[in-house]
């Protein structure tokens, strides 16, 4: 099982001090969070992608590559990659690059994005959000699995004899999760391809989450990738911890009350009862997150949001340390102990390479395209001849 943290890289004033981090501070802080996550034994660090204020993470692969250069083991992931407004050709190239540079420590969570206005900024139409997600992802897979692609669709120009470079590391594309909170179509999409399904349930009651996951698992089995319980499931999570439970409640309450999304709405008492948000001691967080598998089945990835609502960086780092040193070791031990042997481990590049080699033999990484000239494509004058 994999445990990690994700950040949406929001710029939110600290309600206690009114201090607003600069874009530069927030970016540097995120990278520091990623380094600490690795040091305290977490498996995954993921960042969101947004193209509007108050967020600073418009270029995830830049950030992840920079962090990748400063870490050894941690998997670099997204939360989420906008499969709708990014050109699938660029996603294929960027994340294959990242794979090579980080030794395969890459996977992605695909999402449609929840900000309507972003679509026209990238030449797309939000009314077609689902259709774009379906078409773009189908093309993305082909770009990673086929060396030369001929393709025609509705939402971008056709491709003829196109090769996305570099080819995926070891001939194995990054593992893909599909993230969706409310759209059964995306659960269906994930199941169809045998990909993972990540339900970021941090703002949702378990009664909702368990039904979305159940749908995905049933469809995964329907498409013949394995039994329902062998499907790849990830969940979101949210916690604020102090040794003493009451200290956690007192310290976190002003952040909760002013947080984007739920601030000004439900009380922290109600919200912690209704959603996975857990405020208290590390033991209470452990107790709560040990129950998630009772609802969604044994699952492969548990992500936590630790840095939102304007929490100061010092506090965020303390939270990551508590998560990595006190909470995750117990969760890992207990959840792995209860996992039946036929439920797969969380996906890693090494395991996927081994599986691919078992199927098709060793991967030949010798360069397989034309070399030796500086030909960069047809020029208009060449085409006239």
């Amino acid at each position: 099982m994999q445990f990690g943290i994700f950040t949406i890289a929001d710029i939110t004033p600290d309600p206690m001090t009114g201090k607003v981090p600069t874009e530069n501070e927030r970016l540097k802080n995120m990278v520091e969070m990623g380094r600490l996550a690795e040091q305290v034994g977490l498996d995954v660090f993921a960042i969101g992608e947004h193209h509007n204020p108050p967020f600073v993470t418009s270029s995830p692969t830049t950030t992840l590559a920079y962090l990748g250069a400063q870490t050894e083991k941690i998997i670099l992931s997204t939360a989420t990659t906008l499969i709708t407004t990014n050109d699938p050709v660029k996603i294929a190239e960027d994340y294959a690059m990242l794979q090579h540079l980080t030794g395969g420590r890459v996977d992605l969570v695909m999402g449609r994005g929840n900000t309507g206005p972003v679509y026209p900024w990238f030449g797309q139409d939000i009314r077609k959000g689902i259709e774009i997600a379906i078409e773009n992802y189908d093309l993305l897979r082909r770009l990673w699995t086929e060396d030369v692609v001929n393709w025609e669709g509705q939402f971008r120009t056709p491709l003829q004899q196109f090769t996305s470079t570099p080819r995926p590391l070891d001939g194995v594309a990054p593992f893909v999760w599909h993230g969706s909170i409310r759209s059964p179509q995306i659960a269906e999409q994930a199941a169809y391809y045998g990909d993972g399904f990540l339900h970021n349930n941090i703002f949702w009651p378990m009664s909702h989450t368990e039904q979305m996951v159940q749908l995905y698992r049933e469809r995964y089995e329907h498409y013949g990738h394995g039994t329902a319980r062998q499907a790849y499931v990830g969940l979101g999570g949210q916690a604020f911890m102090r040794k003493n439970s009451q200290d956690a409640w007192n310290e976190f309450r002003p952040y909760f009350d002013n947080a984007p999304v739920y601030g000004g709405g439900p009380s922290m008492e109600d919200f912690t009862a209704q959603t996975p948000l857990t405020v208290g001691s590390p033991e209470q967080v452990i107790e709560r997150y040990l129950t998630m598998a009772d609802h969604v089945g044994d699952y492969q990835r548990q992500m936590f949001l630790m840095d939102h609502a304007g929490l100061p960086q010092k506090t965020v780092l303390e939270q990551i340390e508590l998560l990595g040193t006190e909470v995750v070791p117990v969760l890992r031990r207990e959840l792995e102990a209860r996992k039946p042997t036929d439920v797969p481990e969380a996906p890693t590049h090494a395991a996927r390479v081994a599986a691919a080699e078992a199927e098709r033999g060793a991967f030949d990484d010798s360069y397989k395209f034309e070399t030796g000239d500086n030909w960069t494509g047809l020029r208009a004058e060449d085409a006239r001849r």
Binding site: E131, I134, D138, G153, R182, S183, P184, Q185, A187, E188, Q189, Y192, F203, W204, P205, H208, Q211, M212, Q214, L215, E218, V261, Y262, G264, G265, P266, D270, F271, Q274
Partner: protein
């Protein structure tokens, strides 16, 4: 099909006691009497929306209903008819009333018989029902009772003709609840014994409606046990991807 009619009254009055609640009670009492005249049993539940004011605001912000609010939603789903009564503030329904409908799934209201009532200080606000309340139920595709009931403060003290209005409140309540009873009995295939020609025509329409509703709900029934209908709303991937 149960024999008991379940009436759910929603009162958006903000004070206790409120004239809005008084009108809601009067409407459910008369509706029970109209249905009871036919020998039907009636079960009335009345919900004061003010008790759910926080839950409703929370639901708008979090986009999921609290457990308390979910129980009201289930009551709406199970009700044979809803009596919805709101004060008129600033020429429209109370914000609390609108919030309730904004926070709930619109599918809940499709084909649901709804009797609308409204209250205000004076009769000069009475048309607010027609321009600001009924259009919402049209959008929600509810089965609106033709007569809505408006009660000004003066109506509650004026039971005899001519004292407050040309039609005393009691008479208008009787007419509206009689129409509601006609709709509900027609849906069960029993026309009111006193119903005139118009009543019969609406009874015929009503039973045709009943059939289509039953067919629709059979289609919408979750294909997978344990999953709510919203989780079965997808197109199989094979139908979405071009053949290669």
């Amino acid at each position: 099909m149960t024999d008991t009619f379940r009436l759910l009254a929603l009162s958006a009055g903000l004070s206790t006691p409120s004239s809005t609640r008084m009108l809601a009670d009067q409407l459910t009492r008369e509706a029970s009497a109209a249905l009871g005249a036919d020998g039907s049993a009636v079960e009335v539940t009345t919900v004061e929306l003010r008790e759910y004011a926080h839950d409703l605001t929370d639901a708008l912000l979090t986009r999921f209903p609290s457990e308390r609010l979910s129980m009201v939603i289930e009551q709406v789903r199970a009700a044979d008819a809803v009596v919805a009564v709101t004060p008129i503030f600033n020429a429209g329904p109370a914000g609390l009333f609108k919030t309730f409908f904004d926070a709930l799934d619109i599918e809940l209201w499709k084909d649901k018989p709804v009797l609308v009532g409204a209250t205000a200080g004076t009769a000069r606000h009475s048309l607010a029902i027609d321009y600001a309340v009924r259009p919402m139920f049209g959008y929600l595709k509810a089965d609106l009772v033709p007569t809505s009931v408006f009660a000004a403060s003066a109506d509650f003290g004026a039971d005899t003709e001519g004292q407050a209005d040309e039609q005393p409140l009691a008479a208008r309540v009787r007419r509206a609840t009689g129409e509601l009873a006609t709709i509900l009995l027609a849906r069960r295939g029993t026309a009111l014994p006193v119903a005139g020609a118009a009543g019969k025509a609406s009874a015929a329409d009503g039973s045709a409606e009943t059939h289509s509703v039953e067919d629709a709900s059979a289609d919408a029934a979750p294909a997978r046990p344990g999953l709510d209908p919203e989780f079965t709303d997808f197109v199989p991937m094979g139908d979405l991807l071009p053949r290669r």
